[in-house]
């Protein structure tokens, strides 16, 4: 009977704690947010940002040629280098190309190594050199006519040369490789839900609740509320304080995780976390005996936990 009384009193006290109620509300809010937000459809095609500083007519021809080639990479134009860099950094674009001013002419002149295209990439960029090959092959094609004229040096026959060149490029007498894909590629879109880390936040809140329970017990003890209690009773009160702090957040967390993930691995992990936090709090009570010290250490423990959770979710 005494145990039930104590349990009820402790539970009432923790539920009257404003910070605790905020923690419970956070969990419910995040779960609601996860369930209520509509699913989004996202294109998974490989995006490549491109910014051109070259004001000549070649760039438009290059983009038109890329469009015509039905490439699996989606090249899109950005207005400045900062946007390009931002898109690459945020992994929106796999990589980004900045075509410097006068690049196409220097390519024709054979001096493009002094004025190269800048390719921005990160370690998570997939296939940057294969994308580069697509861009370069199209560049090669659009400047080929001028390249041919510049290295023949036969001004009088330029028109004839160009005409024959066009005949060849549109005819079947030059080498061609046919597209062998069957156009059934279906990786273009996927449905996704906005990822809200309900499980990670539950773990953090359980940890915080456990330590809060210990802190409340230590404060009570320092106020000499339990002066008449023997060691056995003190241990029971301490365990009960931690347990009652854990139970509401654990129960709500469990329900939220079931709603979010279904009966998945996370649900079991929430249970294991609650058990681990209980034992951690009990162990900590033997190391940190004063509430003032725990108050100072608590933010550090929380910080390490936040960083730990952040690093593991990377």
């Amino acid at each position: 009977m005494q145990f039930i009384n104590r349990f009820t009193v402790f539970t009432k006290r923790i539920l009257a704690h404003k910070m605790y109620l905020v923690m419970l509300a956070v969990l419910v809010f995040l779960t609601g947010l996860y369930k209520l937000l509509p699913s989004k459809e996202q294109s998974t095609d490989i995006k490549v940002a491109i910014y051109c500083e070259d004001t000549g007519e070649y760039f438009d021809a290059l983009m038109a040629e890329i469009e015509r080639s039905n490439s699996i990479y989606t090249f899109y134009i950005v207005n400045n280098e900062d946007t390009l860099l931002n898109d690459v950094k945020s992994s929106y674009a796999e990589c980004g190309f900045v075509i410097p001013d006068n690049f196409f002419q220097s390519f024709i002149d054979g001096t493009a190594d002094e004025n190269p295209i800048r390719m921005y990439k990160t370690p998570s960029s997939t296939l940057p050199f294969s994308i580069c090959e697509t861009l370069f092959a199209q560049t090669y094609q659009i400047v080929a006519e001028q390249l041919m004229l510049s290295c023949t040096d036969l001004d009088a026959y330029d028109e004839e040369l160009v005409s024959i060149y066009h005949d060849y490029t549109s005819g079947d007498e030059v080498f061609r490789l046919m597209d062998v894909t069957d156009h059934s590629f279906d990786f273009k879109t996927m449905i996704y839900r906005i990822n809200i880390p309900v499980f990670e936040i539950t773990v953090l809140l359980i940890l915080f609740a456990g330590l809060l329970g210990l802190l409340l017990y230590q404060k009570d003890k320092e106020k000499r509320i339990y002066l008449a209690q023997n060691n056995r009773n003190l241990f029971q009160l301490k365990a009960l304080s931690v347990l009652t702090s854990l139970l509401p957040i654990f129960s709500v967390g469990l329900i939220c995780n079931v709603i979010t993930y279904g009966f998945a691995e996370q649900v079991l992990q929430v249970l294991l976390t609650a058990i681990a936090v209980f034992f951690l709090a009990m162990l900590l009570s033997f190391i940190i005996r004063k509430s003032t010290l725990l108050e100072k250490v608590l933010p550090l423990i929380m910080l390490i936990s936040v960083i730990g959770v952040f690093v593991t979710t990377l």
């Binding site: 295209i117 092959a137 080929a144 006519e145 060149y165 080498f175 590629f185």
Partner: protein
Amino acid sequence: MSRFSYFTRLLKADLKRVTKYIPSLLISVCILFTVCASAGYVISKNLYKENKFTAVNVGYYLSPSEDSDMTELALGMLKKMESIEESASIFPVNTIEDGYRMLEQGEILFFIIVPEDFFTGLMDSTNTPLEVVVQDTSTISSYVANELFLSYANYLTTAQAAIYSVIDTLRAHEFDEDFVSQTDMKVNLVFTERVINKDSYIQTVDATGEGNGTLIQHYLSAAVMLVLLLLAVILMPFIQGHNSGVTKVLKTHKINNFHIFISNVICTIPALYISYIPCFIGLSIYNKQIFGFGLITVIPAIILLALIMNLAGIFSRHVFTGNMIVFCITLAITYIGGGFLPHAMLPSAIQKISAFLPGEYLIKLFGHSLFGL
């Protein structure tokens, strides 16, 4: 005594009081900095996970012919291309039957049959067809490899069209055969040179840096900011140190809560500055360079941190509540300022409000002070 004299006395008393916290601050800064800097290092190394594309296996069969040496040379060049190295693995098969068997068993995705005198055909415009057999054309790997082969073919198509056009034009106008041959050679060389040297026309730039520095420098700067903000845990008893009795006495001397706040801020600044010095020394050793000027440029950041801490202190009644407020503010400022994730990775709404909050500027100030960025 004037109000100013009382304020000076309050300031002196507070300065004396804050010196007692210095040992705890220095110990805490060492522990916190080790934790935060290590976390920053781990995050900076793992933020951009390396995406490895599973290389596509491509088998090829070379029909015995007179120009097989030339074909081998061309294949050798192809294998060394960076685009091939990152996406395909090319190897020979002994017979056509072996190639088909490997294709059926999924050992290779593409099987290329190089016909007899393939290179001779390219030169004399007979262009003997190259047979490419594909087992699965629905995977992303097959699309990537297909696009790669189409790009290589494009070089060949373009160069051939140019070379044939020049030869046809010169011969149509009955130019001397030597001149035709020389011009053919020249065009051939120019078009081949552009393809061979294409890697030098692309400069690869690492986009992982943040601001003017590297990602690790950014995270270390953010770690220092985080550490100094969290020192509020140690300084909160000092900030909330004037109980109601002391406040009442001070009020009789015209010293109100605002004066106490100013005095606390002034005293918090040197405490934070002293705490910053171990971080500065540690990172200067790591960086193998000391930016002495940084010890001056960091002062605005320290003042801002002192203000944040003291504001959290006056808006809370208890030390614990004050600590929790600072903890929440710290996390918010660090996140919005790009201390956990680089600015570009933050949601667009957060990116917009980032400019109106101090986190971004604080990290930049610490970056400037520590690394001269």
